[in-house]
């Protein structure tokens, strides 16, 4: 029999336990400020397009490291990419549509001459290019003329470092990108399984150029060696070269040759940065340092697509999002370390009368807040209604639930890119500081849309990651340290192919691609779009100069705001210390430098300093 004292003690313990279990939940609920966007404060900056570096085209006022382009800077491809790269690296750009038109006498020596082969007649102008190389001008040649022209043009072969043309066309088994050029390490783009065959989208029929001594290959084609006598007869050095460098040591010039269309896409940004690095003792350049994970069309607040969802998942739309999609996606981004930005779609069909679920909104906003996820506005809709109407409807809904929440980002899908220009001044969008758009591999991935609004493009889709996407990812990471994965859940909620667009398959792809292909870039920070926006503004706004003396690099910055990020690529040295910041190793000889002060001193040590002397 219990005494009163014992009874009292047991009751007290139970009460305390009850309190302890409950209080955490209550406090979490009470202190969850889901109705406020914390990034409005933490990711705020006053920097705008006015602080951006203006690329000069005036030949009388060029920076010493300017770029000369033979091509069209407005033509999507080599031109736009070169221009974007000049903006990012704060270099001036002079562009001529042909070699003939360039006023060589008045032009100082450029850092690089970028040649879009479509604008050069190699039969007539090879001599000019050879003369330029002898003047010590390094070049990046994008694309080559047809193989017959190359075979008849010995001076061109000499310029490009082609020793022989083994075959006019060869069917490659794959492509190998060597390490030390683009960030991300050595990669073999060779499909061995059925899934990998779906990923193979690189150009596999190319002329087989064998390069001579004095060249360095960065990317080569892989062929079946058996028909050519096996490993013994066909050495790796004889494999078809795709990206290589030919050096004229006597004239101190380097000719980078890109045999293919890799300079037409954002890969060009990486190739240009890598070429710069290859021709220097070291390379130090600013980067954005932002890895984004964006979920669009997160339509877990309505039941408009219940019929399809019931058919595919035997659940309502809301239940699919809450019980299937959210747990699955959250496990992916928690494994990859990304900080997602979610573009909720309160409604998909704005012609229907169904109201979005307020409770679900609160539920998700709380979840998002707990997971440091940012919410943004979206222009997506399945109906044909006007955008102002959609935006007003959304605003009304949001204000009724989360009236103080500042929407800083806006998602503009591919269908509404032009429409956005018409409504960009809408009152609803006044708070928006960054616009997120779908990927476009021939356009600059980041920039300013307006004075105070930045543009961020998706760099890859979450459910698809082809080999060309991977190459582009490497290019972007090399140049900008930027990437943005777009997970468009519209494909799940409004499937086009009922067999393929099911979450079972898509979630597998999403996890596989996101976790695998971003792991080499884990040194970069995971950000939401607002944080990324802040970094882009700082990236554009920063002015810097650098100098290396012995084993020390001094970096001085103007317009410095709190933090800046640089990539430092060294050849035979390692970073031993950073004063005024910190360094993180991305891979061998590549570091992400985080600057916390205006002056940063990076100390280095030789890789190969002999221990015994």
């Amino acid at each position: 029999m219990l005494s009163r004292r014992q009874f009292f003690t047991i009751s007290l313990i139970m009460l305390v336990l009850f309190f302890l279990f409950q209080v955490t939940g209550v406090l979490k609920e009470q202190w969850n400020q889901y109705d406020k966007n914390k990034y409005a404060e933490t990711a705020h900056t006053d920097l705008s397009a006015e602080e951006k570096y203006r690329v000069s085209k005036d030949v009388r006022n060029l920076s010493p490291e300017y770029i000369l382009l033979i091509g069209d800077e407005k033509k999507p491809g080599v031109g736009t990419m070169t221009k974007a790269w000049c903006e990012y690296t704060q270099r001036d750009l002079v562009c001529y549509p042909s070699l003939e038109e360039a006023d060589w006498d008045s032009l100082p020596k450029p850092r690089f001459l970028v040649v879009d082969s479509g604008f050069v007649d190699y039969n007539k102008e090879t001599e000019v290019l050879t003369d330029l190389s002898r003047q010590g001008i390094s070049m990046i040649i994008s694309g080559l003329p047809d193989v017959l022209s190359v075979s008849y043009n010995a001076p061109l072969r000499d310029l490009l470092g082609i020793y022989s043309i083994r075959q006019s066309e060869v069917e490659l088994e794959g492509i190998e990108l060597y390490d030390g050029f683009l960030l991300g390490g050595r990669t073999i783009y060779q499909a061995e399984t059925k899934e990998e065959e779906e990923q193979q989208d690189l150009e596999l029929k190319i002329p087989w150029y064998e390069v001579r001594s004095g060249t360095k290959s960065y990317m080569v084609g892989l062929v079946d060696k058996e028909p050519y006598g096996g490993e013994e007869e066909l050495k790796n050095e004889s494999l078809p070269a795709i990206i290589w460098r030919n050096s004229f040591s006597d004239f101190e010039s380097d000719i980078f040759v890109v045999n293919g269309d890799y300079m037409e896409t954002v890969t060009a940004l990486g190739i240009l940065s890598a070429a710069l690095y290859e021709t220097q003792d070291y390379a130090l350049y600013p980067v954005v340092n932002a890895q984004n994970f964006v979920m669009a069309n997160f339509a877990g607040l309505t039941s408009e697509e219940d019929a399809v969802m019931q058919q595919l998942y035997s659940r309502s739309q809301k239940a699919v999002f809450q019980d299937i999609l959210w747990p699955s996606i959250s496990s992916v981004f928690s494994m990859s370390g990304h900080k997602p930005t979610v573009f909720l779609s309160p409604k998909l069909d704005y012609e229907s009368r169904e109201e979005p679920d307020r409770d679900k909104l609160i539920y998700y906003m709380k979840l998002f807040n707990e997971n440091e996820i940012e919410n943004g506005l979206s222009l997506c809709q399945s109906s044909q209604g006007t955008l102002p109407h959609k935006l007003e409807t959304d605003e009304l809904f949001y204000r009724s639930v989360i009236k103080d929440y500042q929407f800083l980002s806006l998602y503009v899908d591919r269908d509404h890119e032009e429409d956005y220009q018409k409504i960009r001044d809408a009152r609803v969008l006044q708070q928006v500081r960054t616009v997120f758009m779908a990927d476009q591999d021939t356009e600059a991935p980041i920039g300013y849309l307006r004075k105070n609004v930045t543009l961020q493009r998706a760099t890859t889709e979450g459910f698809v990651h082809n080999y060309s996407d991977n190459l582009q990812l490497k290019g972007l990471e090399t140049c900008l340290g930027y990437s943005a994965i777009l997970v468009d859940l519209g494909r799940i909620v409004m499937p086009e192919d009922l067999e393929e667009d099911v979450w079972e398959k898509r979630s597998e792809d999403l996890a596989r691609f996101t976790i695998t292909y971003w792991s080499p870039f884990s040194a970069f920070d995971m950000t939401t779009l607002s944080e990324s926006d802040q970094r882009i503004r700082r990236f554009y706004g920063i002015r810097y100069d650098q100098r290396k003396k012995n084993d020390t690099i001094l970096l001085n910055m103007d317009e410095f705001e709190e933090e800046a990020y640089f990539i430092l690529r060294l050849h035979n040295q390692q970073v031993t210390g950073v004063e005024g910041g910190s360094a993180r190793e991305i891979e061998d000889h590549a570091y992400l430098i985080t600057c916390e002060k205006e002056q940063v001193k990076i100390t280095l040590k030789e890789d190969i300093a002999p221990y015994y002397y």
Partner: protein
């Protein structure tokens, strides 16, 4: 860390390991069994036993093809422990069992780690304390001996250590060949280039295999260890033979510290070579011979008295010691056996009154046969199983079997050159060059091992041709005078340094004095001592004939330069015995030995004082190596910082064998020849991630000097045609300058093309090393037009 510090550390470690293995462990085993011998003799016998066992263990395991670190360790530890247990009535086994029980307790957690560690440290502490106590006791009992011994050791260390920390490379071209042979022992191929005395190689191989010490490091620094032992043996034997206590320090100290000797008498001590290794055992064999006659006589005298006989008497131990030492000279180098044999002949003559008696002759002869048989057996087994003789042995066999000298020498030269493409077993010694330069003869001596030495020196010092026509009969006195003149001339040329030839008569005087004194001591009924004196005198007389054998028209068993080493090594014996005999004659009759010892100490002090006063102190020599310090520094670093087989060194030849266990080697001449007349697509690739190019900015004088000796690499050199031919001559004199110039300008041109990949790894005033880092999946074509390779691109 500086290479000098590293070298000191390496020498220290190797010295300690070798001493523990060959001296301490056998001493631990045999100490109790050797009662009756003085400590120095015990140590000498232990050392001889240690080496004998070690070498034979390696040879047996190698011939059985089961030689590896495990079998070597087992072959060392198990028999050692078994023998120790047998000798101490299984006490050691009991101790081992007890230790095992303790360990078992620790494994079962019945004994804590802390307690176990305390016990271990306690054990170590007790033993160290015991050892220190013993040592301190010895120091207190013999303070002067310890002081003089330390001083002697320091002098040897300074004389032969300075070069070690100043010159890192091999100083003779022989060593890469030995390096090659030892490397192949690791691959289970003993006698890879033919049957050869492998004693030295076995010791180096053992240290390499068991302690993971790189062979090239051992070959670099082991010379110091063996030189120390050579000098210690001299000191110990003198100490054991002389009647006065301290005179040995004076004689040995004067030998090592005075500058009266010519370079050829000691410059080989700067190299780790088999001959010098075998030299360690010459004097122990002689001592054990002396001691045998003495102990045997006492034992025979005691046998007459009714007393229990011991199984192994002191004389038997002496015979063991003699057999092992004599055998070790044979497995070390045949030259050492020749010298030891000469001394034995001298000893047999001097001890004629005992040697030719029934109770001595049989035992001695049996011992000699046994020692030769044991030493020759592994070689004979290898020969019988199909391994041919090494080139230099063919020459030796030829000399013994008696074909014409020229024929044999030509054969040996050919064999030697074929035996190893990289150096051809030619002994190109910077030291010898210096030495013979001093003596006014050819600056390069050839290695007697391959028989090339005889020819170059056969002409004699005065340049006279060996007589092919028998001369007209001359009177005996005239012939004797001529012989004496020849001997005098050769000794003058090879043994003594130019400024100190006035000391030479003291050799003859000492020899004569010893003969006279030996007669006196015979008359004074000190037959053992007298015979020793006579032995030394006869031995030196035989050496006089040997050193001048070529000039006297005798079979050239050894060239004069080589003999001079042994001759000089015999002089401290000669002078020591002479001085001791004189002192003992005057002061040895006093019952109080301190008078004789005091006088001997005074004589040592006088010798030291006069040596300093007369400016006879030798300056420690630093000799030129056949490899730059930079090359060794780079090789050491390359091995340290890279994974095995990820690098290639492109250099003339030495690094081929030095780095053979760790990486690849590409010969400079092959490299340059592949670039000749090629430019844009030479298809010259080397498939390792790192390639190191060794270039001498001031090329070494590898084979003597030439007109442009000491000149830097230059465009002028690079413009010259690549030398033709093959083998080591490609790297001689001017050829080396051309090759290095070409390599330098190639490296410069390549660095301009690949500034980030091709880097200067190391640079000094006379050496530069470039490192090329390449992608192993896509190798760089190293063939470029560097401006001097006559590119025929137009043709392509």
């Amino acid at each position: 860390m500086s290479m000098s510090v590293l070298t000191v550390m390496q020498v220290t470690v190797i010295f300690i390991l070798y001493t523990i293995l060959t001296c301490c462990l056998p001493f631990w085993l045999l100490n109790n069994r050797l009662r009756g011998f003085r400590l120095s003799v015990k140590l000498m016998l232990s050392y001889v036993f240690g080496n004998f066992y070690l070498i034979n263990l390696v040879l047996i395991l190698q011939l059985l093809h089961i030689s590896n670190p495990v079998t070597l360790v087992l072959g060392t530890v198990v028999p050692l422990f078994y023998a120790k247990s047998r000798l101490d009535h299984w006490e050691s086994l009991k101790r081992l069992k007890k230790t095992w029980e303790t360990l078992k307790k620790a494994l079962k957690k019945q004994l804590g780690v802390k307690s176990l560690m305390i016990r271990i440290f306690q054990w170590i502490y007790n033993h160290i304390r015991y050892f220190v106590k013993k040592c301190w006791g010895a120091v207190r009992r013999n303070p002067l001996d310890v002081l003089l011994f330390s001083a002697f050791t320091v002098i040897v260390a300074v004389m032969y250590g300075k070069n070690l920390i100043s010159t890192f490379g091999y100083c003779t071209s022989d060593i890469p060949v030995h390096n090659y042979w030892i490397n192949y022992m690791s691959r289970g191929k003993v006698f890879v280039a033919g049957v050869y005395p492998f004693g030295f190689h076995c010791v180096i191989y053992y240290l390499h295999a068991v302690f993971r010490l790189p062979t090239f490091v051992l070959l670099r620094v082991f010379c110091f260890v063996q030189t120390m032992y050579i000098h210690w043996m001299l000191l110990i034997v003198l100490k054991a033979c002389l009647r006065s206590r301290y005179l040995c320090y004076g004689a040995a100290g004067f030998y090592v510290g005075s500058s009266i000797f010519g370079g050829s008498t000691y410059l080989r001590f700067f190299n780790s070579l088999p001959q010098e290794f075998g030299m360690i055992f010459i004097l122990p064999s002689i001592y054990f011979g002396f001691a045998f006659f003495q102990h045997r006589k006492e034992e025979l005298r005691q046998q007459k008295q009714p007393r229990r006989r011991k199984k192994i008497t002191l004389s038997v131990w002496c015979l063991f010691g003699f057999a092992m030492s004599f055998g070790l000279t044979l497995v070390g180098h045949f030259y050492d056996t020749i010298i030891a044999g000469l001394f034995c002949v001298a000893m047999a003559i001097a001890f004629f009154f005992r040697f030719f008696t029934k109770k001595y002759f049989g035992r001695v002869l049996l011992t000699v046969f046994a020692s030769v048989a044991i030493a020759v057996l592994p070689m004979a087994v290898a020969f019988v199983t199909g391994t041919p003789l090494e080139g230099s042995l063919n020459w030796a066999m030829g000399v013994i079997s008696g074909p014409s000298e020229e024929e044999a020498q030509e054969d040996a030269q050919e064999d030697a050159q074929m035996s190893d493409g990289q150096s051809g077993d030619m002994d190109v010694s910077a030291g010898d060059a210096l030495a013979t330069g001093t003596a006014g003869d050819s600056q390069v001596t050839a290695d007697g091992q391959n028989g090339t030495g005889a020819a170059s020196l056969a002409e004699g010092a005065d340049g006279t041709e060996p007589e092919s026509v028998r001369p007209a009969p001359v009177p005996l006195t005239k012939r004797l005078v001529r012989i004496a003149n020849e001997i005098h001339h050769v000794i003058r040329q090879y043994v003594f340094s130019g400024d100190f030839r006035y000391i030479q008569p003291s050799v003859y005087i000492s020899m004569a004095l010893l003969v006279v004194l030996s007669l006196i001591y015979f008359l004074l009924r000190k037959p053992d001592y007298a015979a020793r004196l006579l032995s030394v005198s006869i031995y030196m007389g035989l050496l006089c004939i040997l050193i001048a054998s070529q000039n006297l028209g005798l079979p050239p068993l050894m060239d004069s330069s080589r003999t001079s080493i042994y001759f000089a090594y015999g002089l401290p014996l000669l002078w020591g015995f002479a001085a001791d005999a004189v002192l003992a004659l005057f002061f040895g009759w006093f019952k109080r030995t301190w008078i004789l010892n005091g006088v001997s100490l005074a004589a040592v002090a006088l010798t030291a004082g006069l040596t300093v006063r007369a400016d006879l102190v030798r300056t420690p020599r630093v000799i030129t190596a056949l490899e730059t310090n930079g090359a060794i520094t780079c090789l050491t670093n390359i091995i340290r910082e890279n994974d095995p087989w990820t690098w290639t060194i492109c250099s003339p030849n030495d690094e081929l064998r030095m780095g053979e266990d760790y990486g690849y080697h590409y010969e400079t001449i092959d490299f340059l020849r592949k670039l000749e007349f090629r430019g844009k697509h030479a298809d010259l690739t080397i498939p390792t991630p790192y390639i190191y190019f060794f270039i001498e900015k001031i090329p070494l004088d590898y084979y003597g000097t030439y007109e442009g000796s000491g000149q830097s690499i230059s465009k002028e050199g690079a413009k010259r045609d690549l030398p033709g031919g093959s083998g080591l001559p490609l790297y001689y004199t001017e050829n080396r300058w051309i090759l290095m110039s070409r390599m330098y300008y190639w490296a410069q041109a390549y660095q301009r093309i690949y500034p980030n990949e091709m880097q200067v790894y190391y640079e000094s005033d006379n050496f530069i090393c470039y490192r090329l880092k390449q992608n192993p999946a896509n190798l760089f074509d190293l063939g470029i037009d560097y401006g001097y390779n006559n590119v025929a691109d137009a043709a392509q």
